[in-house]
């Protein structure tokens, strides 16, 4: 999918993405999982509404040192930094490697057995609520 992102834009995004999501705390950096590669194009393809803020923000800091660029955007164009951060973090948390590291299997297909008695019934937790009796205010029926 071609989204027309130039090498300069991609490279600048990669550097800022690694400021936002660095290699730390046992986690890989953004570029180590490829957020600036196909993931970037995939996200811009799915969310074309992000493109304007993204391109504006990145173009405004081309050539700057990444950390200073991120700091400046956060102060002067928070919408752009928010979009850049969204694209970086969306790509990051989509990757199987990151999901495994944070213990997230994704939104799972894990149906429950409807015939199994709930634990809160078998262990008596709910019974104490029942035993306290009704709490509603009755009214005239008609």
């Amino acid at each position: 999918m071609s989204t027309g992102v130039t090498d300069e834009i991609r490279g600048t995004f990669a550097a800022i993405a690694d400021v936002l999501i660095p290699e730390a705390e046992g986690m890989p950096s953004a570029t180590q999982v490829g957020v600036h590669e196909d993931l970037l194009d995939r996200i811009l393809g799915l969310r074309p509404d992000l493109r304007e803020d993204f391109i504006r923000g990145i173009k405004s800091v081309v050539g700057e040192k990444p950390h200073a660029a991120a700091e400046r955007l956060n102060k002067e164009d928070p919408a752009a930094l928010g979009t850049i951060g969204l694209i970086a973090s969306a790509g990051y948390y989509i990757t199987p490697q990151v999901r495994e590291l944070i213990g997230y299997p994704g939104q799972e297909n894990r149906p429950a057995d409807p015939d199994e008695d709930p634990e809160y019934v078998t262990n008596g937790m709910l019974q104490v609520v029942i035993d306290r009796g009704p709490i509603y205010v009755p009214t005239a029926k008609r």
Binding site: P22, E25, M27, L46, A90, I102, Q107, P118, R132, Y136
Partner: protein, 558 residues
């Protein structure tokens, strides 16, 4: 109306194959194919009425949802966002919210907002119908909980509600058709806290099937209910009601945006003018018109339908069309725990609920109360939303990893649905400049929280934090008012016996126009503190049952 077939999309051609040979004049025209319109269409078609329904949105295929795909959270923030101003789709109409504390939420399609709702299937309490008598505020409803109870029962079956009977917050009620959904680790954790405090909790009823039910699949707990159920489990009325309505000859026209309800010389509603997605105008004639456009769309349409006879908008001699908007301000506390809770796991949906502080206690300094519910906290991306605008090092960098490790999968939300009382200053009007894609004036919302509401929210936030602490939360984030929370749109065409103080009677019939009806949440007299779709549909079912039973006496346009 020969042009109707011209506007039908591919899916509509399929639907047309099952339509009875139609006359130019519908016996009943329903405007809006959401929750109440779906119930009305099914019931009327099953009972032999010739029904035409105009819906401005499309039919949605469950394959369009992203819940079963890795990009789910990314797409939830735009294409499947509940705020129409964020989605910005052609089938939505923009809403001016500059003067509102809360953004109204909805979805415009066959099934309406049930496409994106969380399917918390609640009944109002008996006291909700008697707030004037009990608390001296607002007005009593023109009927009681007991009058509505049989229709609640029927709707439970039609939707396939999963739940556990015996909740002491309610009068005794019939068993739900399906066993309760699991409450998961988050529900258990919250319940443990409530038991320590001696406070009420109960597994929350949901219109989500815990086992296969009437053509829908068993819930797989994916937890993406609020962005559409990719697994075709959740009870949205495009699945629960429209197939039956269509099988019985109802005609559904999608992409049909109504701009005006027309009136004949006798002052009766005789049809509607609508615009198709190619921009062409059509007229659908009808003997009876039922408006089901939700608490914003319905008053918008009535206000648009001005004429010499109704210069202030249709059915608006009381001046109350659009007034008394209630949207349920929503507050929440998210608790973080030092143990894994699998808090992305559904349903979402609700796990447990509490009505411990629902009924009025004058010593608290406000009247009425709120329902609480526990919901899962979703995936890692959604959690990032709270960090917008914060210093770089706080929101990003190594802190991002630390925060994710600390809270992700270890958090849940106690949400608070605060009852907002009717106030004529909270209202829907027509915007003077903003229009939809067809050039029709958009609604503008004017809505402010009252002092009673603010005191109520403050009280409940304090109690919820106590509940979180009792459950063992090590940290909490308090959200005093969630701006994108206006799911529940009510009150803008209120019902009552007095034509000077209400727009419609208890059967949804307009006092001013005897063949014009409103069946959606607009008719609510008060809002309760509950998710309203169960009551919207029960009220609609009660009204349409009355219409069917009194068919011979109905006033119709000829």
């Amino acid at each position: 109306m020969g042009a109707a077939t011209e506007i039908l999309r591919a899916e509509d051609v399929f639907l047309m194959a099952k339509v009875k040979p139609s006359a130019d004049v519908a016996e009943v025209l329903i405007i809006g194919a959401g929750a109440s319109g779906s119930v009305a269409a099914k019931e009327l078609a099953e009972n032999g009425f010739q029904v035409v329904c105009l819906e401005q949105g499309p039919r949605v295929d469950n394959g369009e949802f992203w819940g079963d795909k890795p990009e789910w959270e990314l797409m939830s923030q735009k294409r499947w966002h509940p705020n129409p101003n964020v989605r910005d789709l052609e089938n939505d109409y923009p809403i001016n919210t500059d003067e509102s504390d809360v953004n109204p939420l909805m979805y415009n399609a066959v099934g309406g907002s049930t496409i994106l709702y969380a399917a918390h299937w609640q009944r109002f309490m008996p006291s909700d119908f008697r707030v004037k008598t009990l608390d001296g505020v607002a007005d009593d409803w023109p009927f009681t909980y007991e009058d509505l109870e049989p229709f609640y029962d029927r709707m439970d079956v039609e939707m396939g509600v999963s739940g556990l009977a015996g909740d002491p917050a309610y009068p005794p009620m019939t068993e739900f058709p399906l066993p309760p959904l699991p409450i998961g680790k988050i529900g258990m954790k919250a319940a443990e806290g409530m038991n320590k405090l001696g406070w009420h909790w109960w597994p929350g009823p949901c219109a989500i099937p815990s086992r296969p039910y009437r053509g829908r699949n068993q819930c797989v707990r994916r937890g993406t209910c609020l962005t559409g159920c990719a697994d075709r489990a959740k009870a949205s009325t495009d699945h629960t009601h429209w197939p039956i309505a269509l099988e019985n000859g109802a005609k559904l026209i999608t992409g049909a945006r109504v701009r005006e309800i027309t009136i004949n010389d006798d002052g009766l509603a005789d049809g509607a003018i609508y615009i198709d997605r190619a921009g062409r105008e059509h007229r659908q004639r009808a003997q009876i018109v039922i408006v089901c456009g939700n608490g914003i769309g319905t008053p918008r349409l009535l206000l648009l339908s001005k004429s010499n006879r109704f210069p202030d908008g249709l059915a608006n001699s009381s001046g109350l069309v659009g007034k008394n908007l209630m949207m349920h301000p929503y507050a929440a506390v998210t608790g973080h725990f030092d143990e894994p809770l699998e808090s992305w796991l559904g349903p979402a949906g609700q796990t447990i609920q509490s009505m411990e502080f629902y009924e009025t206690d004058a010593s608290r300094g406000f009247v009425r109360g709120a329902k609480w519910q526990v919901m899962p906290s979703g995936g890692p991306l959604g959690m990032r939303a709270a960090y917008g605008g914060k210093p770089l090092e706080e929101a990003w960098g190594a802190n991002l990893h630390r925060n994710t490790r600390k809270v992700f999968g270890r958090s849940f939300e106690w949400g608070i649905i605060a009852e907002d009382l009717p106030n004529e200053d909270n209202r829907v009007i027509l915007d003077s400049a903003l229009t939809d894609s067809d050039g029709i004036p958009s609604p503008k919302i004017i809505y402010k929280n009252s002092e009673n509401t603010e005191k109520m929210i403050a009280f409940h936030l304090e109690r919820v934090q106590e509940a979180m602490a009792a459950a063992g939360a090590v940290d909490m984030v308090v959200t005093p008012l969630m701006r994108d929370c206006g799911w529940h749109l009510m009150g803008t065409c209120r019902m009552g016996d007095d034509p000077k103080r209400s727009v419609v009677d208890q059967w949804g019939r307009a006092h001013d126009v005897p063949n014009l009806y409103v069946y959606d949440g607009s008719v609510f007299v008060t809002s309760s503190g509950f998710n309203p779709t169960g009551t919207i549909t029960a009220v609609a079912l009660r009204a349409v049952t009355h219409m069917i039973e009194n068919k011979k006496d109905l006033k119709v346009a000829t």
